[in-house]
């Protein structure tokens, strides 16, 4: 039709289309990502090298910091024997349940608070007071009220993970561009559809970021909770190893935690990208 259209369609080819079906392009994209990612490897290797060298050169007592190779060997043995896996799974299960509950409760609450300003006025002060009290400081209360079992751990994870989800849902709802609401209303949208088709999708990006942060907090809180009164879980494992002076095991546990955190972060970034595919360029990177 017009030159502008042709130019635009050519420009359009360069943008990563969701439904391109071109696997080559996808592969190239992945490769480019890996290439960027791999530039961070040398520094990680250097870190491991220093870790290896410090105890070997006698700069740090190997009793307190076993060499990297020793830690890896211990980690390998623990993995093969299946001892570690149980603890990892238990921790993951706890954080998943706590986080899941947070999503189920904080997101709907966030919608209510974001949409109904009167409801927000009634609830905001209490929410802010609770939110600004350290989750860890409340751990003893949870233990007192709910005992040493699963309930107290899941409750504290739920508590810790909820706030970011709540805040981001409220922000998401409040920052829906009024022009979308105006446009929808001009097309005669019902109140129900206004929520379902405009408010909900428009707040997704903010909620997903909240979910990503909430999930990371869940993982952090689970470890802390397991260090106080637990018989299983990665937090217990690390703590227990320290108490029994099984130092290589302790480091192996910490290393596992680091790998776990990294993996989960990548998964969440991937999920965020999937959930907001319609936004195009994905700016926040993988650092989060």
């Amino acid at each position: 039709m017009s030159e502008e259209l042709v130019a635009a369609s050519q420009a359009g080819l360069k943008t990563p289309t969701v439904d391109s079906g071109s696997y080559i392009k996808r592969f190239e994209h992945l490769f480019e990502g890996l290439n960027k990612w791999s530039q961070g490897i040398p520094l990680v290797l250097a870190f491991f090298a220093v870790w290896e060298a410090l105890p070997r050169l006698g700069l740090i007592d190997p009793l307190f910091l076993p060499a990297f190779s020793t830690t890896i060997k211990t980690l390998f043995d623990l993995t093969v024997s299946g001892k570690l896996l149980l603890h990892v799974l238990v921790s993951l299960q706890r954080s998943l349940i706590g986080f899941g509950l947070a999503v189920l409760i904080a997101v709907p609450l966030g919608f209510l608070m974001g949409w109904y300003s009167r409801f927000e006025r009634y609830t905001d002060l209490l929410m802010q007071s609770l939110r600004n009290t350290s989750t860890f400081a409340l751990l003893p209360i949870f233990l007192l009220l709910l005992g040493l079992g699963e309930a107290s751990k899941i409750a504290i994870i739920f508590y810790g993970a909820s706030w970011q989800l709540l805040m981001n849902t409220i922000t998401g709802v409040k920052s829906v561009d009024p022009i979308y609401i105006k446009a929808a209303k001009s097309m005669g949208v019902s109140d129900r559809d206004l929520f379902r088709k405009i408010i909900l999708p428009a707040s997704i990006p903010s909620i997903v970021v909240g979910a990503r942060m909430g999930a990371k907090i869940a993982l952090m809180v689970v470890i802390a909770a397991e260090m106080i009164g637990a018989k299983t879980g990665l937090g217990f494992f690390i703590q227990n190893a320290q108490f029994n002076f099984m130092i290589p095991e302790m480091y192996a546990g910490i290393l596992t935690l680091a790998i776990l955190g990294l993996t989960i972060n990548y998964l969440l970034v991937w999920f965020e990208k999937k959930a907001t595919y319609w936004k195009g360029e994905f700016g926040s990177g993988v650092i989060g």
Binding site: M1, S2, E4, L5, A7, A8, S9, A11, G12, T15, T17, V18, D19, I179, Y180, K182, A183, A184, K185, S186, M187, G188, V189, S190, D193, K197, I198, P201, A202, I204, W278, K279, G280, E281
Partner: protein, 278 residues
């Protein structure tokens, strides 16, 4: 026959706390945007509103669109008082206002969904409109994958999908570059000339007004009133060439003559009301 009749329309806005405005020497925390805005719009005509910034043109569109209530006065659409968005109107915004989570096709379907049109029929209507705007190959694109001109085409198609009797267009081409703007003006006039839709179009561009309009209504500086209505006596169908004709220049001159004093007045007004920006 008049499809829209506006009678003694008034609209006041309360200013934010601490903001004041000087209305002819009287300090007030209310701003009068429309004051006695009377206008009759004929069925099937292309009416363009021009006027200084802040003269309430967009507010008038919002009232006609049922998105904003007047402080007093009334607007009739087909002899019925407008109180809520009507199925007879479609709205096109300057910022396109496409839903970024929907594809081009699905954006166009939106208004039809609210009216309970079955899916196959919705898709068919949306595809026909995309074809009219030359965007058939882009139906699965999300707004971020479209240029500004293409986005506004989709937005116009979306407003037309429900076959409105009245199309409200609030500076729809203002965010586009000059070339795209002319191309879209040509497309709009070509498509409109094949329909019997009434268009109310707001712009700051006199050239745009003259090129598109049957009549140009010149709105005064705030508070807005219709100061003058200028018939544009250019033949139809119009194409881009008419822009370089002598008749075009003569019409342009007429509109500018009516507008000039109001623009100057508005500039003075802004000096008095530095806190108000919209």
């Amino acid at each position: 026959m008049d499809i829209i009749v506006s009678k003694d329309l008034k609209k006041k806005f309360k200013l934010k706390h601490g903001q004041q405005v000087n209305n002819n020497g009287v300090i007030s925390n209310e701003i009068e945007v429309l004051d006695g805005f009377d206008l009759k719009i004929k069925k099937g005509e292309f009416l363009v509103l021009v006027g200084p910034s802040g003269s309430g043109k967009s507010v008038f569109l919002d009232i006609v669109g049922g998105l904003s209530a007047p402080t007093s006065g009334v607007v009739y659409l087909d002899d019925k008082v407008i109180e809520a968005p009507s199925a007879k109107t479609g709205y096109v915004f300057q910022q396109y206002a496409l839903f970024p989570w929907r594809t081009a096709l699905s954006n166009i379907e939106f208004g039809l969904e609210s009216r309970g049109v079955p899916p196959e029929e919705r898709v068919q209507t949306a595809r026909e409109l995309l074809a009219i705007f030359g965007l058939s190959d882009f139906e699965d694109r999300f707004p971020y994958q479209l240029s500004g001109g293409m986005q506004q085409r989709v937005a116009i198609a979306r407003a037309l999908a429900t076959k409105p009797e009245v199309l409200l267009m609030d500076e729809p081409f203002a965010a586009l570059d000059a070339q795209t703007r002319e191309i879209l003006q040509n497309e709009l006039i070509r498509i409109w000339e094949g329909t019997d839709t009434t268009v109310i179009f707001v712009t700051h561009s006199i050239d745009e007004a003259v090129f598109l309009a049957d009549r140009v209504a010149v709105v005064t500086a705030r508070p807005g009133q219709v100061k003058d209505i200028i018939e544009i006596d250019l033949p139809r169908p119009r194409d881009g060439d008419v822009r370089s004709s002598n008749e075009f220049a003569a019409n342009r001159h007429k509109v500018w003559d009516a507008l000039k004093a109001e623009v100057n007045k508005a500039q003075q007004d802004w000096k008095l009301a530095p806190g108000f920006a919209g």
